[in-house]
């Protein structure tokens, strides 16, 4: 795990950092089933349980469907609940993901992004969490190990906020972030404990003085009202994410917002991209800036709810935008991030030209030269005012 320990800096893999965050949060219940590349999260965390470092009830189940089911039961009973998974594991949770969000249970899930079968593949892309994008879970995407660690701690506060009460998913790239060691700064156990506070559900199944029913049927006379409430809570979560990100910054010096803007102020072209590949893109931005080219990058941190107004505002002055997806929606019309960003820009008076590029599926490397290639295409779009190729795969 830790390889250095100087001045509060520690070398940790993404998975190890998440396990430490979970230890510091010390949830009441954790139900999980191991799957690559998120296995080490629960592996490390189960050591903490075995060593008595946490008070968590660890439930080892026979599948991810059962893991999420146990999380739902425990959360409805009033517990603070966490789990972790990847790829097929998240896919097997699908049915239960909607139940967790519909029942408004603030469960926290770490999803280490990995491609979905078939063909079977254990490496990074975003097809798992993007498939769950409409499941009613808050989704935070993380560029680095530090951000994954910080996001998990903030996710607890966001999900449990009285105006939100929705489950939250923290996503980061399989192997690239989960297994590579980065130098990060951990918070003190006490700091985390104080920041997340104690979870007290205002109503819960084990409250025998106030019996209640969870998961009752709701027919055409009321179903839509419950969904409307859920939708409003999701839309409102955006402000809570900003608030908590600011509070985190005030207390610990690292402020987080809805997205991360990189050299966008005067940019004429920009790449919009999630997670670790944003780091690669920033290197390309720096190289091009040295040549005097006005380029920038935007990395959404919050994907659900989608901060469409803020992103449209941030890109309003840009002439051409490339949205890069590490997943294909198989819709014949680009990836999910492309569709959201393009739709968000529709109401802008001056709309930038936008195109979709799909990259890095199944862990294919996305290199600086790939980002440079996309910026080259963007430059051409600005020159001609035309998008020659609306959508295509790169890194083939």
């Amino acid at each position: 795990m830790a390889i250095t320990m100087t001045k509060g800096q520690t070398g940790l893999t993404g998975n190890a950092a998440i396990a430490i965050a979970m230890k510091q949060i010390d949830p009441d219940v954790c139900a999980a089933y191991p799957i690559t590349p998120s296995t080490a999260v629960i592996e490390d965390f189960s050591s903490f349980v075995a060593d008595g470092k946490v008070t968590t009830e660890l439930i080892t189940v026979e599948s991810e469907h059962s893991a999420m089911s146990a999380c739902i039961g425990a959360s409805a009973a009033g517990a603070r609940v966490m789990t972790a998974t990847s790829s097929q594991g998240l896919a097997l949770m699908w049915e239960m993901l909607y139940i967790a969000s519909g029942m408004r249970l603030p469960i926290i899930l770490t999803n280490v992004n990995r491609a979905l079968s078939a063909p079977i593949n254990i490496h990074c892309d975003h097809s798992d969490s993007m498939g769950a994008r409409d499941a009613g879970w808050i989704q935070l995407y993380s560029e680095t190990v530090q951000e994954a660690y910080d996001n998990l701690i903030q996710a607890v506060r966001i999900a449990e906020d009285k105006n939100v009460l929705l489950p939250a998913m923290v996503c980061f790239d399989g192997f690239i972030t989960s297994h590579a060691i980065e130098n990060i700064t951990l918070l003190e156990d006490e700091e985390v404990k104080k920041f997340v506070g104690e979870y007290r559900a205002d109503r819960y199944l084990l409250d025998t003085d106030r019996p209640s029913t969870y998961g009752a049927m709701s027919l055409p006379d009321v179903y839509i009202e419950f969904k409307h409430q859920q939708s409003q809570a999701m839309a409102g979560a955006k402000d809570v994410v900003v608030e908590i990100g600011k509070e985190f910054g005030r207390k610990f010096g690292r402020t987080y917002g809805l997205f991360d803007s990189y050299r966008l102020e005067d940019a004429e072209t920009a790449i919009v991209i999630l997670n670790s590949a944003a780091g690669t893109t920033k290197v390309a931005v720096d190289e091009l800036r040295k040549q005097g080219k006005k380029v920038g990058a935007l990395r959404p941190r919050l994907f659900r709810p989608f901060p469409f107004k803020e992103i449209a505002g941030e890109l309003s002055h840009v002439k051409a935008v490339a949205v890069l997806d590490r997943v294909d929606s198989m819709s014949g019309f680009g990836g999910p991030l492309f569709n959201e960003v393009r739709s968000a820009l529709y109401d802008n008076e001056k709309r930038p030209r936008v195109f979709s590029r799909i990259y890095g599926l199944g862990g294919r490397d996305y290199k600086v030269k790939d980002a440079l290639g996309v910026f080259g295409e963007l430059e051409k779009v600005v020159e001609t005012g035309k998008v020659e190729t609306l959508q295509k795969y790169i890194t083939l």
Partner: protein, 93 residues
């Protein structure tokens, strides 16, 4: 817990117990249980076995069925002891 604007409890939670009683399931019934009190020994096996708590008992005696909740499953008629067979299922008109 409750949303002030809509009055609907968050997450579809039912915030009190015993509400199944308010939901009439009798309309689902195709067969109606009929008891012959001349044969009935008040052993109350039907009351124990009824999945809908639709067998009415007063002072230790089975006095009939709650047809607002009886779904007509026929378990009472099957469970009524062979020597007694006081319950028969009849077609709903």
């Amino acid at each position: 817990m409750e949303n002030k604007k809509t009055g609907f409890p968050r997450g579809g939670v039912i915030e009190k117990g015993g509400t199944a009683h308010d939901y009439s399931t009798g309309g689902w019934r195709k067969l109606r249980p009929v008891v012959d009190k001349d044969r009935c020994t008040n052993c109350l096996i039907c009351w124990v076995m009824c999945p809908d708590s639709a067998v009415i008992v007063e002072d230790g005696k089975m006095i009939g069925f709650d047809l607002e909740h009886c779904k007509g499953c026929g378990i009472c008629a099957v469970e009524c002891p062979d020597k007694v067979k006081a319950i028969t299922m009849e077609e709903e008109a």
